[in-house]
Symmetry: D2
Subunit: 139 residues, 4 copies
């Protein structure tokens, strides 16, 4: 069940001379949805950089490209929360066109890091709680 | 007077290690508004690539950066149509924060090109007419 | 064994406000090595777009991020050819810092497509042969 | 006279579905040369972020696009130092193809800022001296 769903239109700069979405840009596009989701959870990126309480870099990611996307194509990006571990969590992104066909998928594995020491730490309790709500729930 | 005004939130990928918007990305951001504007005029980019009737590359651009923009900052981008010449036209972008302060400016000069011959051509009449409506008008 | 190894220095635009490489950019960076490799094989991208004999989009990709990369960091990117199937092949990228430590990994799965019909086709013989040389060999 | 000249090959991700360099990417490309130049002057970007003695954001930029650039095109980028003011300086970039034809131009205006106060400061003496050497000299 999606925690957040956002529309996106493929822009000219997302494409390359092959006429379709350049593969790296699918990662950039879904990251915008992640930023919006974090803001809704009350853990916006600006706060992370200012408070420097914890950072959550991506340590692994995967993507599938199921249909070519061209400039002007409208898609929807649904973010859902996957496994939440002690020091890490997984986010899954499902990209569909307006007919509901899957056009792409992304998943990202994040770890929580102490920004001063650069070492792994447990997910802060309040963040874990907020995140966990979306494992069961959704919109 | 603005032909189209769009909101934008600065995303993580727009920034660099200096903590603020990387200058080249201001051009990418305003181009999205241009694409939306062209769609509204009935001259969406997809059509240009498929019909190959005329293309309108940018031959000159300028930008000012008046205030540093950080991840999560909300801005508004107002596109207005500038001078329309025989084979070229100018678009102006005004970026403001939510207090109405100007944070950046961009202008782009476009020429109309025959995509087969690669030579300058006059602006197609129907496109010129549509574009000209916005020199006087606005939203 | 690497088919090609290229140096790369992390640029400001590769990073974001967190001060390290934005994850999507690791894909962009390794793709440049792929382009250079294809050129060496005699199958440069320009040819693909002009001849339109076959295209080889990426249908799946994965990446690991093992160490944070900052502006000015020098790395080496080694491309090696993985499994070659009937209609697909795998490329692996290994990113190391100047001490030889692995800082990142990427793999990409490509399929060969008839650009006119948009359907999968077998890898052209000459391309397969060239590619296969690098499964055993390398520099 | 150029302070530094670097080769560049247009990559797939530099282009868009129109088949040519996306205009914003010309700025990204020349910025890499600027980073290399700053490193040579002894004022690499990493130092700026770590020492936080002064930062030099771009407050204005302009670009011309004289010829369409396609994937695989080889160009040269020559950076020259323009006017050096009390709190600002200008860099000019000249992009040529291998026949020596100008394909693009960029100029950037930088101001020196105290990173703590966010206010304009005079160019540090040692930096100004290093920069000024290239107004007369060049390679």
């Amino acid at each position: 069940m999606a925690a957040i769903t956002e529309p996106y239109r493929i822009q000219l700069h997302d494409t390359d001379a092959a006429g379709i979405l350049f593969f790296a840009n699918q990662f950039r596009i879904v990251h915008d949805v992640y930023e919006r989701f974090m803001g809704r959870l009350g853990f916006g990126f600006r706060d992370r950089f200012e408070k420097r309480d914890f950072v959550i870099p991506i340590v692994h990611t995967e993507a599938d490209y199921l249909r070519p996307l061209r400039v002007g194509d409208d898609i929807e990006i649904a973010l859902s929360v996957g496994r939440i571990g002690r020091t890490s969590f997984v986010l899954n992104y499902h990209l569909t066109d307006l007919e509901g066909q899957t056009v792409g998928k992304v998943s990202t594995v994040h770890v929580t890091i102490d920004p001063e020491k650069g070492t792994k730490i447990e997910l802060p309790d309040d963040f874990r709680r907020k995140l966990a709500e979306w494992v069961k729930g959704g919109d």
